[in-house]
Subunit: 403 residues, 2 copies
């Protein structure tokens, strides 16, 4: 019996779920395509600097995992993640961060993005509000958009989210979640101050709204005092998302959540039907890597390297950018944030910048309502020193000309 | 300012999305806990036999990936997956399976479970129907349940899904998807015959309903002629899900989808907001492993090993089980399926079986409507030969006594 391979099959007519059909592909990924053209100096990427990935140690960790755990290290594993690693992460949260934790609080995920996704999925019904900083991490918006979330936003100052703005929004929209990147935020580089953290926790407790503290950058502090984490202040009102992507290597796709034990079984169910569990071998590798005490010097190395890059970019901005443009001065992380004079569009400027072979991400995608037309994000951690000097010079000239 | 860690925070009062709160944890995982008690002979697991994982070759593949690709092999990667691996898988689909494919048809996923999840997410709106075999893979039901799918089911015979039953259900319920495990199905071990495949494709084309062919076991054929895949027959009407979990090692969490190019960008968006992309290092490892020609002998080795296990279990069943019980005789895969006499409950029998230190998974979870009370699944690939002989003997005695 022969079936004709005819034109009846038209996958474009398949009934894709409406909210998926309407999802936009990431604007940032589009910008990245343009900015990866040869000869373009790119401040656009969201990547860590891959020259810092400890390849020999990762190879060692893999070999050690295979030697010690043999085939178990590539067999199916628990949906929550392997027990020794969860124990170790719980112990470190307890001892180093003052977050009383046990193995029951930890769920291993495939990068912090999956943590956001799991939280969104567990909480968001269509139309629910989420309170975010303004601007906020665009990958979180992408994950939340899928669930047809709505946003209420609170502006930030140099100390993070403005509490009274947040309170107004909470009273008006009764959001289901508070989403924050409390440390060296993507995109702004702003870190929340200690007092602000206490105030945000108090607000969350008052209205019983979980805080999702998305924290990929917290360990990359190169200036200033360590600040207590939101979870160490707020306890069970906070779900902390962490990852090895920025301090070790993102391609392992390994992160973890630390949340109230009573809620973890919901997250576990979501994890289970999403992908059963996170890579077993990646978990054993990281366990061995951590146990061998290799993480601390690695974090120190990255932080020093990024500090130098950040300082150089700040110096170059000071030298090359005209009065009327301002920028943040981060104490850590990968990014800083520029505000151009109010009437200048960073989106329109990008085409001219690309002509001069320099690229960045304009601010718009980071604002849930598409605001921030005069803002842009610069990644200081991946370009070379020479690229930073030359790229900021070109941008500065361009802005001068446009003023 | 000190915040009291008071009782106001009660995460059990957090408003978990209703359809998540109602999700059940996997019954099978509960059975697995019981059956992993010491001394219990377990036919309950869904795992491949880990003595067959090629640990030296996997270590070699990791070392080679690090050597060749250096830090790129643990950097962020494209959401669809690294290009050389997608090219290779497309080429193999074209040459070995007669499925004309290019890099644009392939999306790398974190195991076939994530493939199911992505398809479900892209297609299912609450209340939509999915046509499945009866029984079907329980992990797919879990993924679909999250999206509040409904099911319409068609019974199988030894040649797979019954086409007239399927047609009836399609006309009655207008399902959005047809979900099948066409090769050595989990749970029954049944494989769809060639003619049946053509008929199913014809049916799908007639109503323009995508077929999701979940195919983790197809390469583990130890008897009979190779059968053309549904995708080689149906082309664009079929989305094929494949994985390295059963032929190599599940803990790498690596699988792939092969679907119409015009639909892949929807899947890509879903993948992107789920976890950005699948482990980069796992993809480079597998690429090197495949390029070195190591997969073919590995598949041969597994198939021979599983054949011997299957044959031994069939012999033991023949010898020990009473007339009135029947079972499937798989040509591949990991499982076979037993029907007890009609009035006997496999669920009730399990407690007595556990008392005699032997375990299986009863059929109920595999039926969307909770039917199949007299059925059970046996995994023949993980127990030792002695365990197969002894475990089937104990089960046979028990069934005798209960008749």
């Amino acid at each position: 019996m022969l079936i004709e391979q005819d034109s009846k099959v038209d996958p474009s007519k398949w009934r894709i779920a409406l909210h998926v059909a309407e999802l936009k592909a990431s604007i940032i990924r589009e910008i990245l395509k343009i900015s990866s053209q040869p000869g373009v100096i790119s401040f656009a990427g969201g990547l860590p600097n891959q020259s810092l990935f400890p390849m020999d140690d990762l190879k060692w960790a893999m070999e050690t995992a295979v030697e010690k755990y043999d085939s178990t290290c590539v067999q199916y594993a628990l949906s929550r993640g392997i027990i020794p690693l969860r124990e170790l992460l719980a112990e470190r949260a307890t001892n180093d961060d003052g977050v009383e934790s046990s193995v029951d609080n930890i769920l291993m995920v495939s990068g912090a993005q999956q943590g956001i996704e799991i939280v969104a999925r567990a909480f968001i019904d269509p139309g629910d509000y989420i309170l975010t900083e303004y601007p906020t991490y665009v990958g979180a918006l992408q994950a939340f958009n899928y669930y047809q979330a709505q946003y209420c936003c609170a502006e930030m100052d140099h100390d993070g989210i403005l509490i009274e703005k947040a309170r107004e929004q909470i009273e008006k929209h009764k959001p289901k979640l508070i989403y924050t990147v409390s440390n060296f935020q993507n995109p702004t580089g702003i870190s929340m101050g200690v007092e602000r953290r206490h105030q945000l926790v108090e607000l969350a407790q008052q209205y019983n709204i979980p805080i999702i503290d998305d924290n990929p950058y917290g360990d990359i502090r190169f200036r200033g005092e360590q600040v207590p984490s939101l979870k160490s202040i707020g306890g069970d009102i906070v779900v902390a998302l962490q990852t090895f992507s920025k301090i070790l290597a993102p391609g392992l796709r390994l992160g973890w959540m630390n949340g109230p034990a009573s809620i973890m079984h919901h997250f576990e169910k979501v994890k289970q039907c999403s992908d059963l569990h996170t890579s077993t071998i990646a978990q054993y590798m990281i366990y061995e890597y951590l146990m061998a005490g290799k993480m601390e010097p690695q974090i120190k190395r990255i932080s020093e390297f990024y500090k130098n890059k950040c300082d150089l970019m700040l110096q170059s901005l000071e030298k090359e950018f005209p009065a009327g443009a301002t920028w943040t001065k981060p104490d850590g992380g990968l990014f800083l944030w520029v505000e151009l004079p109010e009437n200048m569009s960073a989106k329109e400027l990008l085409n001219k910048a690309i002509e001069r072979k320099v690229a960045y991400v304009y601010g718009e995608p980071f604002f849930p309502d598409g605001g921030g037309d005069n803002t842009l994000r610069l990644n200081f951690c991946t370009p070379s020193d020479e690229e930073i000097r030359e790229g900021i010079k070109r941008l500065g000239q361009l802005i001068h000309e446009e003023m």
